[in-house]
Symmetry: C2
Subunit: 398 residues, 2 copies
């Protein structure tokens, strides 16, 4: 009662159709799951499994067709040095793709790289019928997707995410784009891939810190909409962190399923899709205030979820017991690197959040475990106090 009397709260239940069904899983062969994504403007499959790379060319056949379509790959030097042999092995000798490189790091996720990559692709013979594969982490996916969206006003592309974060989050849903000097992801497009191939095998070479950073987005998926995933991550922590393929597959498939369902209902983030931004208001602000240098995205989101959790706890959208359970799960997938940033800098940076509308700042709050609410009336005082609380946790964990 306190909730409805005291605050204008938009619960996700009020945004979603009542008789919603989770997309069904189809199995096309051992160890490979196909999760369908169906939005207002696009329909495609996310293929999740272990060791997909050796059969990549065969799996691309439906997208390449027989019409002499040229294939281009945008990747990072690091991923390519690890996986190029496996990647190219499945391609016939006479149809090898053209490979282009995106330099690693958020500072290169900019318009200048998009322009360079488009220019290089066209110089190498790309036209509107070309197919692009974005093979790498979130930056490669975002930049590669924006290249595909913009090259001659749009060509087909495939996401082949190589990090956990990009597998569970950025490769699905069609959001692509670049940073500005003044903020992250402030320019871009909605451009859905024709397919997503999430190969769990690729995660075996992922640095430990990046694995954990990605898992924070899966924890987010559990908090906002999937209590079963949340519990699985509580009980299977050791298997997940030691990269048991089955445990990772379970986490990744559940995270993608959740995202596919949300994006299917609200493609353009006019309602339900906003819940995916739990932890992102403060998370993005932390990244901006630390110039994208100190934290991985997932780590900033983890801190941001702790701040949102504190607002939720104070407002009563979560009980103290639930808040503790969520906090414990987040720290169980740590350590989170320390933060040296002033509360005022974070609060200031939230003013530029993309979710804001005509000056109104939006927040996603957990509503128990497995549900969430969107609120528009978080005061500066509340925000200050939640950021202060978060910074206390930062200091306590040092």
């Amino acid at each position: 009662m306190r909730l409805t009397c005291k605050f204008s709260v938009l619960s996700y239940d009020s945004l979603a159709p009542k008789k919603m069904q989770a997309p069904r899983l189809r199995y096309d062969e051992a160890n490979v799951r196909t999760i369908p994504v169906k939005t207002a403007s696009a329909e495609y499959s996310v293929i999740v499994g272990n060791n997909i790379l050796p059969s990549l060319y065969r799996r691309l056949a439906p997208y390449v067709g027989t019409s002499g379509r040229r294939v281009f790959v945008i990747t990072s030097p690091q991923i390519w040095s690890l996986w190029s042999n496996s990647f190219l092995a499945s391609f016939p000798v006479d149809t090898q793709p053209t490979v282009l490189f995106q330099p690693p790091g958020e500072q290169w996720k900019r318009f200048a790289q998009v322009e360079r990559l488009i220019t290089e692709m066209i110089s190498a013979g790309a036209d509107r019928s070309s197919l692009l594969i974005a093979f790498g982490g979130g930056i490669v996916g975002d930049v590669g997707g924006f290249v595909a969206a913009s090259l001659m006003r749009g060509i087909d592309y495939i996401q082949m995410p190589s990090t956990l974060l990009s597998q569970v989050d950025s490769s699905v849903g069609g959001k692509v784009g670049v940073n500005l000097a003044t903020g992250k992801n402030l320019a871009g497009a909605f451009h859905h891939p024709k397919a997503v191939f999430a190969d769990i095998e690729l995660l075996q070479t992922l640095p430990d810190r990046e694995l954990r950073a990605g898992l924070f987005e899966s924890i987010k998926a559990g908090i906002i909409r999937d209590a079963k995933l949340f519990r699985f991550m509580e009980t299977q922590r050791d298997s997940i962190l030691s990269r048991h393929a089955k445990a990772l597959e379970q986490v990744i498939a559940a995270s993608i399923r959740m995202k596919a369902e949300v994006v299917g209902i609200d493609e353009r983030e006019s309602g339900l899709r906003m819940i995916l931004n739990l932890g992102h208001t403060v998370g993005h602000a932390i990244e901006a205030a630390t110039h994208y240098r100190k934290l991985l995205h997932g780590e900033a989101v983890a801190w941001g979820m702790l701040a949102a959790l504190e607002i939720g706890r104070a407002r009563g959208t979560v009980t103290t017991a639930q808040a503790e359970r969520i906090e414990q799960l987040i720290f169980a997938y740590g350590p989170l690197p320390p933060l040296k940033v002033k509360a005022a800098a974070i609060v200031e940076a939230t003013r530029r959040d993309k979710k804001n509308r005509a000056g109104v700042r939006r927040f996603i709050l957990p509503a128990g475990i497995g549900n969430s609410v969107v609120v528009e009336n978080v005061t500066d005082t509340e925000l200050n106090s939640s950021v202060a609380h978060m910074l206390t946790l930062v200091r306590a964990r040092r």
Copy 2:
């Protein structure tokens, strides 16, 4: 018969639904016509009339709404110096828009300007609910539209074209974008405006050369699909060139109607919309080969139409009499500035045309007057010979 035996020709009749109807004109008041555009993904109005500017704010009301939506204007310094007083006069003192400038010239139609404009808009408080007005010629419309497409992955915008070319062509249909160093319009998006306001009054300050350049696109509209417009431009040449408002309105409305109809049937240029590219294969090549410095776009298209006409004449898609009539009409709206460029440079530049698919070069040819065909089998010999013929005309007109 010769046509069907000798060449694989795709006529627009085979691309368009059989029972096609031209969009109906609605009149909302004296001297203002509303032409509806309805595509697979968007629905909006083109408002054509004389002296729309003084009532602009009232006309924007349906798009601005009452929710405190911020209004931004991207314009050119030249247009703004001529029309800012009239533009701003209709806005209440407390809701003046924020104005940003795009420098004039194709060399500034680049990613770097899009990035700068997005950054400036966000610094000035733009968010996803902001409304952008692109007020200027084709470059302002293309860059402004791409800014609207990309800012936070897409905001609403309005086209307010100030040149004849942008009124009859680029402001309708949602094609927006930028040039690369290596070619024109090679990057961009499909992003439809919420409305287009084509104020004929703005054309009174348009340099004579630009007026004529724009009229070549209307001639194109007549050739490919509107024999009545073609005849009107033959008989009313003097009224049109002396800018009688009624004559211009007739030409502009007919051109927009034609484009609205074509774009409504084929939004993404997978079929019928290709006919709008009559003259553009060689036209773009001329622009690229002369580094976008010698000719206005409409002038390059005029030369390109003469080249396409020569291919059509040789193939028999137009009779010699029709070819002469078309040639005469084009020259009646001249003079066309001379060209100093080698045939080989033009032919080479056509290889990078956006309409090409997997190495196949597409051409639009006039099929009589008021109809057109898309062909894919223009040989290098035919192209060379048509460009040589065009260059002969260039020399003859010097």
